[in-house]
Symmetry: D2
């Protein structure tokens, strides 16, 4: 029952802008890449298309705070922490650190947050509606201690 | 002295994902497109490279709240509102509405916020440092009334 | 029965890279944006999801040749020319020119090409298969003269 | 003196489009990611900013041929092959294969090509001009046999 997960990402040339640093919008792509790898590690699909029972996690709220820039050549550690598990939603915190000599720097260079709502296919209306998180998913999510994500 | 500005954007195919809706990360590209057009309308560069005096607006905080999805074929109105002008920073609110029969729908389908800090080239250190917003820029920014952006 | 179409696009900050110019991958987004606007002008959907009869245009071959860079602040004219209409495919050429004092420069700064195949839903197999271009679409596509696209 | 290099990439949600497959433009991002990792493995910077001697590799020609789609959940092998080393340019071929049970499938699902020109800072004009590939770089590039990339 993991409460956190991390990946490493080498900054790509296309992710930089003319100011010479990573464009701020890419941090959201990295958060989702980490979330995808987290679900893969849990053997859970981030989105499933079982006939008659689509399950997905649309985002209702996202944010990011930037403290220090990343540059081409940097390797970034993206750390996901489960902040909160509600009946129909999960809140993740993401911490971004630069890898220096093989290890993540102490400084959290950026900090993101995503609130994702669990939706399922409603056979009656043919629409996606918010639904309780399936028990199999819930069983695999553990909330991280506040001291881990409150930075 | 404008306090708001708006653009229209036709949803692109590449902006959709396999869930059939616009991927959440694109809203940040749209906010910046609106900000760029706003500065262009003011005859101000969003980023200037005058020798010895680079001025830019790195983001320190961004967020977005999603209430209804956009789909391929939709045209979106992106409305920028100046929420706050500080000595060294500006806070913008962005409202996203779907265009229906030529006019923006009443529903704000998404709402974003960007805090951008004014930075200038510091000849002494050779680095970018936070700096007071140039008077020429400040003179052109007016804060919108709270009732306009508080939605 | 148009053989060509054009749009204008203001270069976005996110489209630049640390070399200070537009990243080459964005030209393919611009080609598709022009194709989308072209189909919209013809009152044809680029992709349609009529139940039991999905029609789409996956790409089988794309290319781009770069002769001069674009920068932030530039406005680009993207011109689509219909090069070839086959039974099951269309070939488009795209020419990119910088707008100088309100008009496209003589220089073609980049030149792209897309071969798109018409596919339809095959009820028997449940898969997308190459299919003859619907008559309603074909009737609206005219091939441009070689002297127009051979640059 | 390597003539080829490969990376693996897990398809990201943001890379899919409403047709449920990876959008064609992403293959160019993957090519560049592979090229970046190749140069990193050679201990060569893909772009260097040594004062007074910037070296970069702008693209003059790129293309991609698509034979089979990739989907979310797929892992892709991107294989770079050095097709040609000219005085001032390098031509790479890229082969994309799906990983099945830990190994690349026989089918080349897509095939790309990039021609990159070596440029250097010209102190006289202050512009980037095509220049002979530095000896240190050239010494590390070996051309792959035609039978490897001619697929």
């Amino acid at each position: 029952m993991p409460a956190e997960f991390k990946i490493r990402h080498a900054v790509q040339f296309v992710e930089t802008d003319m100011a010479g640093i990573v464009h701020f919008s890419n941090f959201f792509r990295w958060m989702e890449a980490c979330e995808t790898a987290f679900y893969r590690s849990l053997k859970l699909p981030l989105m499933s298309f079982n006939p008659g029972k689509v399950v997905g996690w649309p985002r209702v709220n996202v944010s990011c705070e930037y403290r220090a820039p990343f540059r081409y050549g940097d390797t970034v550690e993206v750390r996901l922490l489960v902040k909160e598990v509600r009946t129909r939603a999960v809140v993740y915190v993401f911490q971004f650190r630069r890898i220096v000599r093989g290890r993540p720097a102490a400084l959290v260079a950026a900090r993101g947050e995503i609130t994702a709502v669990c939706v399922q296919d409603d056979p009656a209306s043919g629409r996606m509606v918010a639904a309780p998180i399936p028990a199999a998913v819930r069983a695999k999510l553990q909330v991280a201690p506040a001291k881990a994500w409150a930075r």
